[in-house]
Symmetry: C2
Subunit: 446 residues, 2 copies
């Protein structure tokens, strides 16, 4: 019998604000960071599980503390028991009644829960010797449904309906598996479109993206309408009429400005407008969608949990959704969201970028293709070419497609040296160079 003997958490930060990578209308100077965790076991094989929460800098210490606050629910537990019922394990985390008060099921504590759950799925897939996408795809419909918490979902999808959806996707699995391994899964790229880039850099990167094989690019918008009109025109000229172009406002607008802005950008043939307003505002997304149709509306990278995704779908507020591997309560909750999307016939364009989000979310999209929606038509996983070198099993992109991971696990493990060098505030990447505001935060009395 082996046990989980430690939950180690690390405050890892990359000083990305020095180059304005990742700048958008809401996030002008992020330092891409991770509250990174390792679950150690006493298994003779050295079995471990890895997970992370992505943040953009300040507060990563709070997020790391939240991960550590879950130790009592994990450390000391029997590995077979935990991996043998991944649904029950996830419930023990989300059902801690005292911790639940801090959400419930949202924000810092929910993301921490999600990271620990993801680390346990990583451990399960490693023990099975499979990449996570394959580990999920090989589960029976009954096993998959048993991992899901249907609380607050039963007015939209029941376990029986979920089972029926999964059974309907069983024919063709072998062919889809072959197609995935041979072709990969489509990617789209946000690399050209960060707000901090010059027009020249935008146009050059857009052309390069098309040359590399991407069929969709995305631009950040929302800071200044005149700038956005000019940038959309430049990008459209650079990529030509046959490549899709999405825009992302990162929550900048109320309903009226969202409608006005998108009417001005619609002539550039917009694939979707992402996060036009508050991620909490189901009714506002619905109002915007009605007003700007046929421009598709989308959100999801900040959608806090399955309950809000459910409402976005019930209210016909979105044409497609993003999922994020590190925002909600782990693989289990993302499976619930993928099932909801399949039931409502809405396509999923997973959110990625940041630290490790590409590495993680590719597994969910690929499992969805094999076992849930059964489709990768008109779908793509976001790709941003940052920070992959810090991961032991980094994503592999060929001709605008994610190749299916082959190593066992969830691809969340970082190189020990990368963790060590970017530990905040004492790692070599930070010591002596930390931003003044960040230093002030630590030096103040508390």
């Amino acid at each position: 019998m082996s046990r989980i003997i430690a939950l180690e958490s690390y405050d890892v930060r990359f000083p990305t604000s020095r180059h304005l990578d990742g700048s958008d209308a809401m996030n002008p100077d992020p330092d891409y960071s991770a509250a990174y965790l390792i679950l150690r076991t006493d298994d003779a094989s050295g079995l471990a599980g890895y997970g992370l929460v992505f943040t953009i800098g300040r507060g990563n210490d709070v997020q790391t503390a939240a991960v550590s606050a879950l130790s009592h629910l994990v450390v000391g537990r029997d590995v077979d028991e935990v991996l043998g019922d991944l649904g029950a394990f996830a419930r023990t985390l989300s059902d801690d009644s005292q911790l639940r008060w801090l959400g419930p099921e949202k924000g810092v504590m929910h993301m921490a829960i999600g990271a620990v759950i993801n680390a346990v799925w990583d451990m399960a897939a490693r023990r099975a010797g499979k990449p996570l996408w394959r580990f999920i795809a090989d589960m029976s419909p009954e096993q998959l449904v048993a991992t899901i918490d249907f609380r607050y979902l039963s007015d939209a999808i029941t376990p029986d309906e979920a089972l029926a959806l999964l059974r309907a996707a069983e024919p063709g699995r072998a062919a889809r598996l072959r197609a995935l391994v041979e072709e990969g899964y489509p990617a789209y790229t946000t690399s050209p479109g960060w707000l901090g880039y010059s027009d020249e850099k935008l146009a050059r990167l857009a052309r390069e993206a098309v040359a590399e094989g991407f069929r969709t690019i995305k631009l950040k918008v929302g800071a200044n309408l005149e700038d956005d009109i000019r940038r959309c025109r430049l990008a459209r000229e650079a990529i030509g009429p046959d490549v899709a172009m999405a825009v992302d406002a990162n929550q900048r607008w109320d309903v009226a400005p969202a409608i006005e802005w998108m009417r001005q950008l619609a002539p550039f043939d917009i694939a979707w407008i992402e996060e036009p307003t508050s991620p909490d505002d189901v009714l506002a997304h619905a109002a915007i969608r009605r007003a700007i149709a046929p421009v598709p509306v989308s959100t999801g990278e900040h959608t806090q949990n399955r309950v809000v995704f459910k409402q976005l779908l019930q209210a016909q507020a979105v044409d497609l959704i993003q999922i994020d591997a590190a925002r909600v309560g782990g693989v289990n909750e993302n499976l619930a969201i993928l099932l909801l999307a399949a039931k409502f016939g809405v396509r999923v364009f997973p959110h990625a970028g940041g630290v490790g989000l590409c590495e993680l979310v590719q597994h969910l999209a690929m499992a969805d293709f094999i076992a849930i929606s059964g489709s990768k038509e008109d779908r793509a996983i976001e790709f941003v070419d940052h920070l992959h070198e810090h991961f032991v099993d980094p994503v592999r992109i060929r001709a605008g497609r994610y190749l299916a991971p082959e190593r066992a696990g969830f691809s969340a493990e970082m190189h020990a040296r990368s963790v060590r060098e970017h530990l905040y505030p004492d790692g070599p990447a930070w010591s002596g160079t930390a931003a003044p505001r960040a230093v002030a935060a630590r030096a103040s009395s508390a």
Copy 2:
């Protein structure tokens, strides 16, 4: 010129789980706790500001760390500048782009922001020599509107509409002020209805509540339908037909069970069903309300921010709302919520209990009566008789009514000795006696 020179934060916990005070269907064994903070200044008068986030035990360390993570936005700032524009101050906290990623505007980080904002309002009222309710009531409509962040609200209420509402409430202010000071503000009590209590204790406490002058009581429900039917019958018999009786399910149900359960409880003349389902589920509240009318539906103590309150009102999902002084982004956001409620004609029954929530929220209800809704008809502030002795300016209840606070400030200050004795995990209330699970959490490697 004086400056804010320190943000001190304290992990304060009361071992309430030893007596099952505060037990409900979702929270069987809370240890009522506070992430408590003091803003120190170098003002010669000793000016300070006090605030807190209420939690129910585990994770209070994470909440306290989140409060400390805001130090860089507060410490070193000029007191006149901060108190001179309380709207701008609140925006500097909610607009920190890196911290915003951890919500946005929800959960641990948003509650921390709310507590710091509340501490600054406490400081402002102290400096003005007024209790907070009076400080707010004495603001002009223009001053009050200037404190509010209307982002994501403009499809429901604009600054001009808010101004018009406040101006319409100006006639009669003097008379309402006299009435408040003479009569107090109605209270209702949850003390009889905790799930952990025996039938005998429930009936006895219900009779005592009526004898003490309360006109509304509230029972926790949702764990077992047969028990709830029996307990509602007992309570109704104890209080007679003329006292109102509300029930609170603490988020236990999906839509279908909520409807079924409430059809069984409706014969006991239910004043409202509170938190029938997930606090995130606007559409489910609307569906439940349509199905169980005329039983009123309510929620709010876990409603994360103004955006969700707005949607509850837009979707006609609730008949009344709870506000909580320590869940959302401080006084500013609660003023926005009170204005929304006034615009939509929905009554407010503030949530209280816990640690200091009664002390805080009474000020908001009283300010609402004087300056916003202009009414305290068919309204009441929740009252639970726990832990008031730890506060320097505890609530005063007479004949089922909150008396208007007279001391300057927001009544959040705790006795220094109470803080010292209940510091977790090393205060005398905890050392050597902490619950095993809590100890395990701290002892595990991380």
